[in-house]
Symmetry: C2
Subunit: 270 residues, 2 copies
Amino acid sequence: MGGSLGIDLRQTGSYTVLGISRQAATCREAIERGVVDDASVDLQLMAKADVVFLCTPLGAIVSTFTQLLPYLSPETVVTDIGSVKQPIVEAIAPQWQNFVGGHPMAGTTESGLDAALSGLFVDKPYVLTPTAATPPTVLEKVESIVRSLRARIYHCPPKTHDQAVAWISHLPVMVSASLIAACSSESDPQVLDLAQKLASSGFRDTSRVGGGNPELGLMMAQYNRLELLRSLHAYRNQLDQFITQIQQEDWRSLELQLMTNPKTRSQFVG
Amino acid sequence: MGGSLGIDLRQTGSYTVLGISRQAATCREAIERGVVDDASVDLQLMAKADVVFLCTPLGAIVSTFTQLLPYLSPETVVTDIGSVKQPIVEAIAPQWQNFVGGHPMAGTTESGLDAALSGLFVDKPYVLTPTAATPPTVLEKVESIVRSLRARIYHCPPKTHDQAVAWISHLPVMVSASLIAACSSESDPQVLDLAQKLASSGFRDTSRVGGGNPELGLMMAQYNRLELLRSLHAYRNQLDQFITQIQQEDWRSLELQLMTNPKTRSQFVG
């Protein structure tokens, strides 16, 4: 993600892009490929930065910021690209006034320099999560950079962001992961074998995100725990309603719910 | 589906295909398009048939068979293409010895003559569900026709079929339908609005089958009720396990489960 940011920001011609990596080889490669203007393993390089994007995995954002803190000049604006915002904002904002949380929703499942793509953010959502304490100039500065990526910018409080992504991103992972685990619990080997042979596009699509990177699933559960639990409880209530309708052969209620779904879904993924 | 069968069976050059429709216009069109050799609204046409495929929607298969019964000659072999097998087999087999249930798993969501496609069954599963009472010659006759469609043939008891499709076809619909309904239950309009704007491929794939044809969802729940409930209960147990792990911050157990999922999924949709 950091690589994709570097490529696009350099292409605008408006920015000098400096990169930090733990690996000297990654720094050299990033410079050679033109992903950054300069790169170093030494955090001191960030002393020159006007705006710092923290692009580590979610679990390393706050500790990376803490390491960086001694090198930052007081006017430097800091932002991050973590997929959960409340714990990040709560940890960093009290230590750094010129901070605003961000979440570009344009990932690939790949990571590293090889995954860096030009134009990754175009027309993709990029959520910024200022609080009442965020100076307007800080928000404006990050927003002007994000605008140059041609992303669709949204603003909201960190908690609103985390609740929204719980519904449309983190809940689907758990729903889908439960499907895979439940299907494999079948104890009759003949049924399990046949199910494996007959599975096709319906199972494929519904199980896709639950069969993805386990570290990502774990991380979203750890960092967005309360909002994910909130959506999981609402989901279980809905599931129980369907189970009860089917048990009681209340076909009219089941049909009414199923009939509203195509339209409801189109409001999310029109 | 009946139209696709007609197209492929005629193309083999080995069969004369006769069709029945309620609409005279459909009969004329099927003949003109070369989907059938002859067609009629009059069930009498089936008196000439060696093998009859019942291709109505699930809810009309048994009643169509009952209407057809007086016209059939005793040697005629009957099969159907319904997506649930136990209730169909239990209703028809006692009345017609030369019956074997079938389920070609190659549908499109479209129906009618316009959806008829050549080669629809190639490399797709086609399950045949003989019972102990099915004469081997009946199975062989239907199987030789299905083989000419170049489908992948599986045999199993009707109940095994219904349990397998409950897992990989009917459960995913309810899992996915619950996701759509749960997400739309969000009561904070700002969160709901943001969730709708941020939803992308993860939500799109996981919600696809739950936002499909409500009649199909209802029908599978009605006809495969007990097996669907069996899989729904196993699913809810698995979901509850995830919820408990997240509530108790039992990250090791959650991670272990998520880590087995990619491999488990590949056994279904390798």
